[in-house]
C-alpha cells in the first residue's frame, strides 16, 4: 500500500471520526431530558433566586426555591385563614407582650445539626437585627426579641400587644445557626442547608437550581426525587419550554398567551385570584383637586373596571369591592360594595365638587413590564377619564425608575400601582398609614383605628375595627379601586396534586409526576 493511499485512508477515517463526534455533541441528550416517571419535576419561573437565604428576600420566585430547603415556623391556610403548625407546633400568649412557642422535636437539618428552640430564637433575632437588613423585619416591627426558655420552648417578647405575631412568623424561615455562623452569608449562598422536604444539590447561576428529596424529612415524604427550578425570563419562552416538554410547570403566564397552552392536549392552565390588588393612588397629601373627597369618589365611578378585566385581562381579574382588601385577606368586609361604572354620576359629582371635568388636568404615572398589561390598563384608564373631558397626561416608566421616584414621593397625583402583602388587614391596611413609603394618604382617625386593632387580641374585636378602617378607605377613596390580579400557571397533565395558591407559592407536598 502506497504512502499516498495510507494518507488518504487516514484522512477519511479522521474525517469520519470528527463527523461522528460532532453528531454526538449535537444530539447528546441534555440534563433536561425527563427522568423516570414520578422521578423528576422541572419548574420554570421568571426570576432566578437572588439569594438562598429566604430571610433576605421578599421575591416569591426566590422564596419558591428557598422554601423547599428552609421551612418557616408556621404556615398559613388560605381556605380557613388559620395559622398552621410547621416547625412550631403550638403557641399562646402568656402575657400581653409575650408569646410562648413550642417547637417540633426530633427535626434535623440535612447536615446533621439539630433544630431546637435555641436555633428558632436565633433565627427570629437574626431577622430583628437591623444590621442584617432582612426585608421581612418590617412585618416584625412590634417584636422585640426571642429567647429559648427550654430545649423546645421559646419566648418572643413584643413591644406592645402583637396579635399578628404568628402570621409574621410564617415568613421567618429557619436556617441552621452553627452552619451559618461557620460558613457565613457567602458560604451559605453557595450551599444552603435546611430542614425542608428538599435539599440543595447544585445551582448554575442565572439558569437553574437542582434539589433532591430529603430522605430524612420529618413531614410528609416528598413524592418527587429531583426538582429543578429553571429561570426563563421571557413569558413566551416559558410557554415554549412547556410546549416542548422541557419543563412541567411554569408561572406568571399572561392572558394573551394562554391559548398557546390550552391548545395543547397535554397541558392545562391553573389560574386563581392572587393577593395582588391593583389601584390608582390619588395623592391626597399635596395641594390640588384630588384633596377634594368628592373628586376622588367621582373618579371611582369614572373608570370601567369590568371592561378592563374583560377586554385587557381577558377575564383574568376580579374587580375590587371598594376596599384595599379581597376575600383572601383576613378582615375583608363583604358588606362594602364596589363602585359601579357610572360616568354620568362621575360628571355630576365633579360639578358638585366645584371641579367640573373640563377643568381637571391630572398627571398620571404608571410602570411598564411590572404587572400584567400595566401600560395598556393605564392607557385605558386615561382614555376613560379623557372621555369625560378630564385632561390626563400619562407617563409610563420602567419599573426601576418608577419605584425609585415613587418611594421618594415624586410622582402623582395619580399613580397606577399594585401590591400584595400577607393576607391580613392589619398589614394590608397598614400600607396607608401616615408616613409609610407606599402611602399618599394620611388620616389620624384611620391610624388610630389600626393602632387599636394592633392591641386587640380577640378576633371579633379586631374584625370590627378593621371594618371601620376599611369603610374610611372606601368613603375617602384615596384610591381608584381597580381589580385583583390572577396568578396563572401552565402545568403539564403529567403532574398530579399541584395546587395554585393566592400568594403564588410553590407547595410540592402531595405533588407527583407520572
Amino acid at each position: 500500500m502506497t504512502m499516498h493511499r495510507l494518507q488518504r485512508m487516514g484522512t477519511a477515517v479522521a474525517t469520519r471520526v470528527l463527523l461522528v463526534a460532532l453528531a454526538c455533541a449535537l444530539t447528546a441528550t441534555t440534563a433536561r431530558s425527563a427522568g423516570a416517571p414520578g422521578g423528576a419535576l422541572r419548574i420554570a419561573q421568571g426570576i432566578y433566586p437572588e439569594t438562598f437565604n429566604a430571610e433576605r428576600s421578599t421575591v416569591q420566585d426566590t422564596l419558591n426555591v428557598d422554601s423547599q430547603i428552609n421551612e418557616p415556623l408556621m404556615n398559613f391556610n388560605y381556605k380557613t385563614h388559620e395559622i398552621m403548625p410547621n416547625l412550631a407546633t403550638s403557641w399562646k400568649l402568656t402575657s400581653p407582650t409575650t408569646w410562648t412557642i413550642e417547637v417540633r422535636q426530633g427535626v434535623m437539618f440535612t447536615n446533621g445539626e439539630a433544630f431546637n428552640a435555641e436555633v428558632a430564637a436565633w433565627n427570629v433575632n437574626w431577622v430583628l437585627d437591623p444590621a442584617n437588613k432582612a426585608p421581612i423585619s418590617t412585618d416584625l416591627a412590634l417584636a422585640q426579641s426571642a429567647k429559648a426558655t427550654g430545649p423546645y420552648t421559646l419566648e418572643v417578647t413584643t413591644k406592645q400587644a402583637f396579635p399578628n405575631l404568628p402570621l409574621a412568623l410564617t415568613r421567618v424561615f429557619v436556617l441552621p445557626q452553627k452552619y451559618y455562623e461557620s460558613v457565613g452569608a457567602d458560604g451559605f449562598a453557595k450551599h444552603p442547608v435546611g430542614t425542608g422536604p428538599y435539599e440543595f444539590v447544585n445551582a448554575t447561576n442565572g439558569q437553574d437550581v437542582v434539589l433532591r428529596a430529603n430522605p430524612n424529612y420529618w413531614g410528609r415524604a416528598p413524592q418527587i426525587g429531583t426538582v429543578t427550578f429553571y429561570s426563563i425570563t421571557q413569558t413566551v419562552q416559558r410557554v415554549n419550554a412547556l410546549k416542548t416538554g422541557e419543563v412541567e410547570i411554569v408561572n406568571h403566564l399572561t392572558p394573551d398567551l394562554l391559548q398557546l397552552v390550552t391548545s395543547q392536549p397535554t397541558l392545562t392552565v391553573s389560574a386563581i385570584p392572587s393577593l395582588r390588588l391593583m389601584f390608582v393612588i390619588l395623592d391626597t397629601t399635596k395641594p390640588g383637586p384630588l384633596q377634594n373627597n368628592k373628586v376622588r369618589l367621582a373618579l371611582n365611578y369614572a373608570v370601567d373596571k369590568q371592561a378592563i378585566v374583560r377586554d385587557l385581562l381577558r377575564g383574568y381579574g376580579k374587580p375590587l369591592q371598594g376596599q384595599p382588601l379581597s376575600p383572601e385577606y383576613f378582615g375583608f368586609d363583604q358588606t362594602i360594595s364596589a363602585f359601579p361604572y357610572d360616568p354620568a354620576r362621575a360628571k355630576q359629582m365633579l360639578a358638585e365638587a366645584g371641579s367640573p371635568a373640563s377643568s381637571l388636568h391630572l398627571e398620571f404615572y404608571a410602570p411598564q413590564g411590572r404587572y400584567t398589561s400595566d401600560a395598556e390598563v393605564a392607557k385605558a384608564i386615561a382614555g376613560q377619564l379623557q372621555s369625560l373631558g378630564i385632561q390626563v397626561d400619562l407617563h409610563v416608566f420602567d419599573w426601576g425608575t418608577f419605584i425609585g421616584q415613587f418611594v421618594q414621593k415624586k410622582l402623582g397625583p395619580m399613580i397606577f400601582i399594585g401590591y400584595s402583602t400577607q393576607p391580613d388587614a392589619d398589614i394590608a391596611l397598614g400600607v396607608e398609614r401616615c408616613g409609610q413609603a407606599y402611602s399618599y394618604f394620611c388620616s389620624t382617625d384611620y391610624d388610630a383605628l389600626l393602632n387599636r386593632a394592633d392591641r386587640t387580641l380577640d378576633t371579633p374585636g379586631r374584625l370590627a375595627l378593621y371594618k371601620q378602617a376599611a369603610l374610611i378607605m372606601h368613603n375617602t377613596a384615596p384610591y381608584i379601586y381597580l381589580y385583583q390580579e390572577y396568578t396563572i400557571w401552565g402545568v403539564s397533565k403529567r403532574v398530579q396534586g399541584f395546587t395554585t395558591l393566592p400568594d403564588e407559592r410553590v407547595d410540592l407536598s402531595g405533588v407527583s409526576v407520572h
Binding site: L26, A31, D139, N205, G206, Q207, N240, T244, S420, Q436
Partner: protein, 304 residues
Amino acid sequence: MAFVLRRLMQAALTVFATLTVVFALVHVSGNPVGLYLPVTASSEQVRTMEHLLGFDRPLYVQYAAYVWSAAHGDLGASFSQSLPALPLVLDRLPNTLYVTLFALGMMIVVAIPLGIASATRSGSPLDFLGSGVAVFGQSVPVFWLGLVLVLVFGVNLKWFPTFGSGGLRHVVLPGVTLGTYSMGVITRLVRSSMLDTYHSDYLRTARAKGLPQARVILKHALPNAILPALTMIGLQVAYLLSGAIVTEQVFSYPGMGQLVLQAINARDFNVVQSFVMVVAAVTVLVNTTTDITYSRIDPRMTYG
C-alpha cells in the same frame, strides 16, 4: 514592547473613562432602595436603607469612594444577591464567550469564504447569495430572528433546546442569532474588498504567469483584501459582547448579558459597572491583539 506598554496605558485610561461615564449614567437613574424594601416599609426605613447603602451621600462622594475601592480591587457587592459583583460577572463570562466565539466562527468560516466566492464569481448565483446574506444579516432585527429560530428549530422541529446552557446544542441558536448581523457586515466588506483587489495589475500578472486560481486568491489577493475585514472583526467583538444582552434575554441563556439586563432593571449598580469593566477590558485586549496581528500580516504597518 514600547508599543504594547503604550497600548496598555491607553487601555487602562479607556476603561477608567468608561467606568466614570457609566457610573454617572446609572446613578442619575435613581437609587434602588424602593426595589429592595417591601410595600410595608415606612418612609423612615427607606431613609435608613439609603443611609446603610450610602445613597444619601452626594454623588461625587459616592464616586470617590467607588474609585478608591476599585483601585484596591473591590468593585462592590451586588445589592440583590449580597455577593461580590465582579465574581458574579466573571462567573457568567465563559457562557457569553461561547456564544461570542460561535458568532466569530460564523464570521470566519462562513462570511469570509462567502465574501470571496461572491466577489470572484461576480454576477453568479453565489454572488446573489453573498449579497443576500449581507443584506439579510444587516437588516433583520436580532430579537425577531431569535424568536423565529426558537419557534422553528426549538418548538416545532425540537432540534435544539429553547433555553439555558449546557453544551454545544445550547450555543447554536443564540450563536446564530448573535452572529447574523456581523456575518452580513463581514460578507459585504470582504466582497467589496476582494472586488477592489481582484482586478489589480499584480493579480493579472500572477494569472498570466499560470498560477492556479486558488493560489492567486488565497496567497496573493486575500492577504491584501482581508485587512479591512480583520479590523472590522476586532471591532465586532465589542458589538457581540454587548449584543449578547438581547440574545441572552431571548434564549434565557445565563451569560453576562442576561445578568447585566437584570442588574439594570434592579438598579444593581455594582454589577452593571463590573460588567462594563469586563467588556471594556476584553474589547481593548481584542483590539490590541488585532493591531498586532495586522502588523504581522501587512509588513507596511509598524508600531513604534
